[in-house]
């Protein structure tokens, strides 16, 4: 059963590239911000607290904007574009919980890939000095590898949880598709 749902989730991810890329990109950017916030929070104990504080609050503010506006917006768009599909699956006997599970598996896979890529991107950028980062991030080398991995893990799991929670919430709210209209082809 799980194998079947995993199969259809992977098919959906592959065929609905625009949704997958949008969600993956969202996870990519949010995880980067989460990770940087985590790092700066860790660095708050360093000497130049004011600069770190500014960086910390700026990133927190951008996360709020993304979380409050972008994630619900994309989730609503994602679910409303797929309402007909969910209705079709329901007509053929799929339970609400099964449709929710399928949507969740899809989002889990997409957001995991996006978030891990985002965190890796930040690590690469920090260690190679490709982009300009506030000078205090130069102290990044002070971190132990375990702590650093934990911060990255927190960022990834945070993004995955937020995207998953929104998807389940919005999908379950909008599952009541007009079935009789679907049967007649009028919607």
């Amino acid at each position: 059963m799980f194998g079947n749902i995993l199969w259809i989730s992977l098919v959906n991810i592959k065929r609905k590239k625009s949704y997958s890329i949008t969600y993956g990109a969202l996870a990519f950017f949010i995880s980067q911000t989460f990770f940087l916030v985590n790092i700066s929070r860790e660095l708050l104990r360093l000497s130049d607290v004011s600069a770190i504080n500014t960086f910390f609050y700026v990133t927190i503010f951008s996360i709020l904007i993304v979380s409050v506006l972008l994630i619900p917006m994309f989730t609503l768009l994602y679910v409303s574009m797929r309402e007909k599909e969910f209705g079709i699956l329901r007509i053929f006997g799929a339970k609400k919980s099964e449709v929710l599970f399928m949507a969740s598996v899809e989002i889990l896979i997409i957001s995991c890939i996006g978030a891990v890529a985002g965190v890796l991107c930040v690590i690469i950028l920090i260690y190679t000095n490709i982009i300009y980062l506030p000078y205090f991030l130069a102290h990044i080398q002070r971190f132990e590898l375990v702590r650093f991995t934990a911060l990255a893990g927190q960022a990834v799991s945070g993004v995955v949880c937020i995207e998953l929670a929104f998807t389940v919430f919005v999908t379950s709210l909008r599952m009541k598709r007009n079935i009789s209209g679907l049967l007649r082809g009028s919607v």
Binding site: G3, N4, R15, R90, I91, F92, G93, E98, G185
Partner: protein, 226 residues
Amino acid sequence: MSIKAISISKTYPTSPVQAVKPTSIDINEGTYTFICGPTGSGKTTLLAILAGILSPSAGEIVFDTIRFSERDDKSVSQFREQHIGYVPQATLFIPELTVWENILSPNSFFKMSIKKLKSSALDLVERLGLADKIHMRPFELSGGEIQKMMMARALVKKPTYIFADESCSELDNNSADVIFKILDERKKEGSAVIVASHDHGTIPENTDVYMMKDGKITDYGKGGTL
């Protein structure tokens, strides 16, 4: 196993007219039932109620001894998933998926391994002449081919009850014969086949026939006698 409809009626919230007036029907396993009537006579609504997709405004659907009205949505969905194959009148498919994926996708929730589902689907697409089109998107198919795809989708899990709503209306005689042959085989294996059609000419002999008009069953008899 049987499905009993006891005095069911249906009124849509958006319309004051009763789409189905109080009607009782009994459908047993291994039978062939035709519901005939002109467009707008309530065939689709009746079929959807019998299949557990829509709930009646009044009356009762009883599957064996289980009353649908006493069951929650989850139990009714589970029953549909396990026992019902439905071929809708409207062209219902997921446009982004290929024909093959459209056939398997709604059935992937059924408790049958994907390997078995694929083997059953392969047999059906070959018999329905869709084998060379399974990698195409549904909108690249003709109306008749889409109906065949929807038929394959309904039959993959070998359901106990097969509901076909105007499923041969866009098919040529040869294709319709293939579909009726498959349905006949399923009937012999013990499935109940329920077909809604506006075309009296497609009714085989010795089948149960219900004539519908204005949401009401006006006549009942055997195919070839009505």
